[in-house]
Symmetry: C2
Subunit: 506 residues, 2 copies
């Protein structure tokens, strides 16, 4: 594609690129289905910043002229043939370019977000997102609970509330925490809009430029996005069969002043690994010895299907160094956005002040509904049914995978949580597999989305909780066929692929 840019023109460069590509599509010089040059390459060739091309592509995508597909590239959309002339842009501010210089951060590529969005397309079997099963949807429970709390509490729920949370919900959580071996005072609990906000408040209150944070690698991408800010050093600690590698963690702490250790001992996302009791004890000892705070994300903790429950780190924490995070999202209520933090009073005080600046307080109606469901025993009842259903679904996944996956694909079936983890031989690339799977109407999250350092390309996460049984079976069958084909190809081209894997490991 030959484009001519003129930086002396008053027209911004991205507009020049956009207009010239649009013109060519309209004229039929680039045809429907044709692949556009990757933005990085085009940028290099034109000698402009990559975001300049990205901006042009984004506008063309918004106009419906082109579309991007994860891992495959950007193509001229079938819609383009229906469009005779550029869509009216009169109302669009032409000032978009102006803003680009004002933002604090560079925009990030949101490949995962696009993948999640495609999960909602009709006919797609999505193993991509950790969504709850709709089979147990507690809508009627919520409907009745809302009615009861609004009749009982009335106007109070519509007015401003305390920044640390709706007091009855805090008392309910206190009783539940005690059951889990965490005897928290009320001023050691803060209600947030779910774990994502909890992570954000931790970052705002504790982590600044010059600080080092130790995180599990791979990890939940929402976590690395929160902590990855200018001047903050993130150290990835690999996750093995027993969770975070504590030998490596210790080496890291000994070498650097670590401000915060982030861990998820139960059903770690994405690997599903569980940290055994002895390791939990050792992590608490390390924290105490090196006086290093630990944030424990227990969002999947309540979803154990079988095996003995393990005590949360917070219940083993005699030094007051563990900050415990949890939420109602993974037990069926992500849309209500309610989570909680348990920590030393001093920490909660600061997090509450940060919460107040961030959004005053969490929505009261959601808090009251969850308290009502909790106090009435409905949450625990729902949790028991959820665990049973998810265990069943995991069994369906396992049965299908054992039948259809080639032996080289190693599945890690968790004792709880919402996803399994599949490891492929080195040299196989899960994102390449995704491209083929998408063509067959199946999607999943490839491992590279979860690594913020030293990305591994040969694994993927399968979330099984939201899918009906027949879709799990069908999806796994399709993936099995694709995996077998990939293995055959991998066997043939072993040398080349192995080299590729080595490069990726750098």
């Amino acid at each position: 594609m030959l484009l001519t840019l003129d930086s002396s023109l008053h027209k911004p460069l991205y507009v020049q690129i956009r207009d010239q590509i649009r013109e060519r599509i309209m004229a039929g010089a680039i045809r429907v289905g044709e692949r556009l040059e990757p933005s990085r390459e085009l940028a290099k060739r034109l000698g402009v910043h990559r975001t300049t091309v990205g901006n042009a592509y984004a506008e063309l995508e918004a106009e419906g002229l082109i579309q991007g597909t994860v891992g495959r590239g950007t193509f001229v959309s079938p819609l383009a043939s229906q469009l005779k002339s550029p869509p009216p842009r009169a109302r669009r501010s032409t000032n978009d370019f102006f803003w680009d210089g004002l933002f604090v951060e560079e925009p990030r590529d949101d490949a995962l977000g696009r993948l999640m969005a495609s999960a909602f397309q009709p006919g797609v079997i999505s193993f991509a997102a950790s969504h709850a099963s709709l089979e147990l949807s507690p809508v009627d429970l919520v409907r009745r609970a809302t009615d009861r709390v609004l009749r009982r509490e009335g106007a109070r729920l519509l007015q401003y509330g305390p920044s640390d949370g709706y007091p009855p919900l805090k008392r309910y959580l206190q009783s539940q925490l005690r059951r889990d071996g965490i005897p928290a005072e009320l001023d050691e609990i803060l209600i947030t809009n779910g774990c994502q906000q909890s992570l954000d408040l931790l970052r705002r209150s504790l982590v600044t430029a010059g600080d080092t944070v130790a995180c599990e690698n791979p990890t939940y991408p929402g976590l690395s996005r929160v902590f990855d800010s200018p001047g903050v050093r993130m150290i990835g600690v690999p996750v093995g069969a027993e969770g975070m590698d504590l030998d490596l963690l210790q080496a890291v702490i000994e070498q650097s002043k670590v401000k915060l250790i982030m861990t998820s001992p139960n059903f770690q996302n994405p690997t599903g690994r569980v940290m055994p009791l002895a390791a939990r004890q050792r992590l608490c000892d390390l924290a105490t010895r090196f006086q290093t705070p630990v944030a424990e994300d227990d969002i999947y903790g309540a979803l154990r299907y079988h095996g003995r429950e393990l005590p949360p780190l917070k219940s083993l924490d005699t030094a007051g160094l563990v900050i415990y995070l949890n939420s109602f999202s993974k037990v069926g209520f992500p849309g209500l956005r309610v989570g909680w933090i348990v920590a030393s009073r001093r920490v909660i005080e600061r997090l509450r002040a940060a919460k107040q600046r961030a959004d005053l307080h969490t929505n009261l109606l959601g808090q009251a509904v969850l308290e009502e469901l909790g106090r009435g025993g409905w949450l625990n009842k729902l949790l028991r049914r959820t665990r049973k259903l998810y265990e069943h679904k995991l069994g369906v996944l396992r049965g299908a995978a054992e039948q259809h996956f080639p032996p080289e694909a190693v599945c890690v079936y968790p004792q709880g949580g919402m996803s399994a983890w599949v490891e492929l031989p080195a040299g196989l690339d899960a994102a390449e597999l995704l491209v083929k799977a998408q063509d067959c109407g199946v999607i999943f999250a490839p491992s590279q989305y979860f690594y913020f350092q030293q990305p591994q390309h040969n694994a993927f996460r399968l979330c099984f909780t939201a899918l009906p049984d027949h879709q799990i079976e069908r999806g796994v069958t399709i993936l099995g066929e694709l995996l077998k084909a990939a293995m055959r190809k991998n066997g043939k081209g072993r040398k080349k692929s192995a080299a590729g894997a080595n490069v990726a490991l750098v």
Copy 2:
């Protein structure tokens, strides 16, 4: 009070202070009702940092031994006489002190928060907070709307939603915005957890160390707390009868590169001032000429009781430079935490990414309920009744003030919003008045809480919307008496007071 500190002890200094004061209270050496030395003075005398004394006082307050009263000081609590020995502290982590060195920011004095909290004490007539009247509480509307949306939308409302907001609510807002002369596309609208989060997202996306922000002075304290971060220069632009002083603003923009202008053209908080049409036009022209973005907070805009509605800045903005903020909080639903931002697509993209990192998305149930109420016409009906009621209450306030306030107290009665602004002669201190008013069971917000620069001490804000008529009358009568007494005293000591006022103006 004679305290002996020994920095060679293993015991932290604040613990030494706490324990020695506790000991003296227990021994009766300091008696119930006795005033403690202000923390600043005690810190100076002991040669320790002020937060050290603050920490000791905070712990004693948590134990119930002492209590602080806004503007008056800290006193030994009546509870102290009932306590024979220090309360058990076994379960309290003794690690609180450890954390103090880890936080990113210094703790702030939250005088306003304490004042708001005391508003809920029984018998107190509070003009302090902008709370809605419970007389029109839309609880039954919300109860029925929740039932309808949960029956109709079902599980979808309990699951994860899009970061930019619940699509039907965005479409409803789009139709309302069009009516207000703001023809926004859907991708120019972002739903947030209310205006506080909108401010926070703006700060995160647009303002970093080295940037300058021009804000109205006085202003909503939640705004200055958001923008007041290390390296950010905040310039206070005085608010006059026509809102933000645009001559001064222009001078500021000409002298400094201003990253963002914050303004609230309708019923500015706390002054209640309205920016006239010509000034709005001029502000837009300034923004365009200097290519400076403007954030327009219109949270009180819908609460105009009489007079012609003025077009929002955003509707006059041809250059795409205005970022418009609004919420459902001031029309009766602060507890649901739902607000919105309208801006250029590029700005919304970045704010949405920041929102996703901050808390994924806003709670869906609240969004769906508000959409249901909006689309059904209930919100507009409620708004009409609210305006009428608040206009009536303003009339009650005005009648009482004209009868009971001395002529030297100049009341600025707004054409809308939730509060009136009272200006006193120079030399009178509203915080001192508050101390006396609190003794009589009346509270309000003194002007110094709203200034982030050059604090003025001789004004206060009276929020009248949440109070029953007879409480407005009684509160104003009491304030009138106190004001008259203060005027008499001021008259006698004029010289001294005037000097004090000059000092305060520096």
